[in-house]
Amino acid sequence: MSVDTATVKRVANLARIAVTEDDVSRMTGQLNAILGFVEQLNEVNVEGVEPMTSVTPMAMKKRQDVVTDGDKVADIVANAPTTEENFFVVPKVVE
């Protein structure tokens, strides 16, 4: 399978990355090179093979459903580019 420029633009939009026309043509070539490389996986007979979900044979650990952390609003917003009264500030979403 290979991608065209329209697909690359759509994927960039899904990934929320702004791209220029130059970016799109360069990325199209590079993505096709990578997709061409991974194509060989189709040779492998995977009939009856379970997809891997965990490399270690273990059940996921579950902790007690209790509050163990919190009261650190200042820590949480400390690295945000824009905050106001312990809120993250974003551009207006709803008119």
Binding site: A15, F37, V38, V55
Partner: protein, 493 residues
């Protein structure tokens, strides 16, 4: 006075304990070495001299009181991927501009609890994506090694290029690193250092910037096998904060060093003899085989038939996980924000400016293979192939093999801005052809220096072990180290 930076961790530990040197002197020697060398090598992104000297002073007090920890007073460099409280943590990316976490990663917290001293944060490929350390927002790291009679700058490998270069140039006693597809073992091989990626689940991933969560593992890069064993014992732990941390007690890895190899069976996989592999690598591999045989190990030929599919499967699984993990960088909660006409425009501008080329490429691949209509063809297929890759190893271990010996990399270090590597991403990805299988199967792997090529550049061998059997790797790697000797980069910087 002897150069304190020449001491291994084991040597420094003994001298500190005997009060022949102080942690403050040792830390001062490293800070001076960094100041002299970092402009040339670019191994450190930031240094933390005040914090280092403060920690060293506390270590000296504990040593004087006779209650020093396992790494008391040992100065270490920390890869920029590890969250370090109040200190630059950006995964060498622009998108985490100014980020200083209000928490400490479990691995680094373990090191400080054992008395280690932090010298600063080490350069790396952006978000650990790369095999040459050239994708860093902070510029490439130079390998302390150069070919004989040449002044051409070489890459230190990646993504833990800063860690490997700093250890090889003696700008720290040891370093933390991480490995998703070879990012500890490939730079270790390129710099004549020892690097171990432990079993998935051995070191906690908590507080480490995530790249591909089912593959990421932390481990040390060190000057020799013993030092790597000492560091891993401190880094590894059972951690309730990481749901994939495995409940197995951490053994004393150092205790197996020097244990004879009698009764150990080493497998040699024929699939690792790849087309176009330099003859020198093949020779090195044969040399390794005969060293282990001489030391009493039994050598058997084995087959790992799905080896060639590990790298293509990796380039679906890792970007898929990365595209999901890196979705959090949106200009809202931390790091860079580039304004836009609305919120989506702000996201898109922030991510376009904040991520470098390689990171964008992998997010794009990951987004594509997970998108509607392609998930089964790519992602599901890759995860099935991954099951087969793991089964290959299980079959070999089931047949009695204790460890597998392979080359660590298909070549020695290449030049910075190498035309061929940089024009073709797939060519760059092939650097990890021998290491990536280990991540796909969650196994431990160690790279140990085994010789120099005809140009005088270091080459490494890799040993792959059973899950949670890092001990056999240290035991066997030490035999190779004893036979090969240690390799130091002639100082030019």
């Amino acid at each position: 006075m002897t150069d304190l930076t020449a001491l291994t961790i084991a040597e420094a530990r003994d001298q500190l304990k005997a009060k022949a040197i102080t942690a403050t002197e040792l830390t001062g020697a490293y800070l001076q070495a960094i100041e002299n060398a970092n402009e040339a090598l670019n191994a450190y992104i930031v240094t933390t001299p005040e914090k280092a000297l403060e920690m060293a002073k506390a270590s000296d007090a504990r040593l004087a009181a006779g209650n020093g920890g396992a790494l008391e007073g040992i100065p270490l460099g920390i890869k920029d991927l590890f969250g370090t409280e109040g200190v630059h943590t950006q995964a060498a990316s622009h998108i985490l501009d100014g980020f200083k976490p209000h928490y400490e990663s479990t691995v680094t917290a373990n090191l400080w609890a054992d008395g280690a001293v932090m010298l600063g944060k080490l350069n790396m490929d952006e978000f650990a994506m790369g095999s040459s350390n050239e994708s860093s927002y902070y510029g490439p790291v130079k390998n302390p090694w150069r070919a004989k009679g040449s002044n051409v700058d070489l890459v230190p490998g990646g993504s833990s290029g800063g860690s490997a270069a700093a250890v090889a140039a003696r700008l720290c006693a040891g370093a933390t690193a991480t490995d998703t597809g070879g990012s500890i073992r490939q730079p270790a091989a390129f710099t004549g250092t020892v690097g171990i990626k432990p079993t998935y689940g051995r070191c906690s991933r908590w507080g480490i910037v995530a790249f591909a969560s089912s593959l990421d593992q932390a481990g040390p890069i060190a000057r020799d096998v013993r030092d790597a064993a000492i560091l891993l014992r401190s880094m590894a732990s059972v951690d309730a904060k990481d749901t994939t941390s495995v409940d197995i007690a951490v053994p004393d890895y150092e205790a197996v060093i020097g244990k004879p190899l009698a009764g150990i069976k080493i497998g040699i996989p024929k699939e690792y003899r790849v087309d176009g592999m330099p003859e020198e690598i093949e020779k090195l591999w044969q040399q390794g085989i005969s060293w282990l045989k001489d030391a009493g190990a039994t050598i058997v030929d084995i087959s790992l038939p799905h080896t060639k599919y590990a790298l293509p499967a990796y380039y679906i699984v890792a970007p898929a996980e990365a595209s999901s993990n890196l979705a959090r960088y949106d200009g809202v909660r931390y790091g860079l924000r580039v304004p836009g006409k609305d919120i989506v425009d702000m996201y898109e501008n922030t991510r376009a400016k904040g991520f470098g080329e390689e990171v964008k490429r992998r997010i794009m691949i990951g987004t594509y293979v997970l998108s509607a209509g392609y998930y089964d063809a790519y992602y599901l297929q890759a995860q099935k192939v991954r099951t087969l890759i793991k089964k290959d190893f299980e079959d070999a271990f089931h047949a009695g093999v204790d460890a597998i010996l392979t080359p660590a990399t298909p070549s020695a270090a290449f030049g910075i801005a190498d035309q061929e590597m940089n024009s073709d991403p797939v060519k760059m990805y092939l650097n990890d052809i021998f290491t990536v299988t280990v991540n796909m199967a969650g196994l431990p792997g160690i790279a140990v220096p085994a010789g120099l090529d005809s140009r005088g550049l270091p080459l490494g061998l890799q040993l792959i072990g059973r899950p949670f059997d890092e001990e056999t790797l240290f035991q066997t790697a030490y035999v190779i180290e004893q036979a090969a000797g240690k390799f130091n980069a002639p100082k030019w910087w």
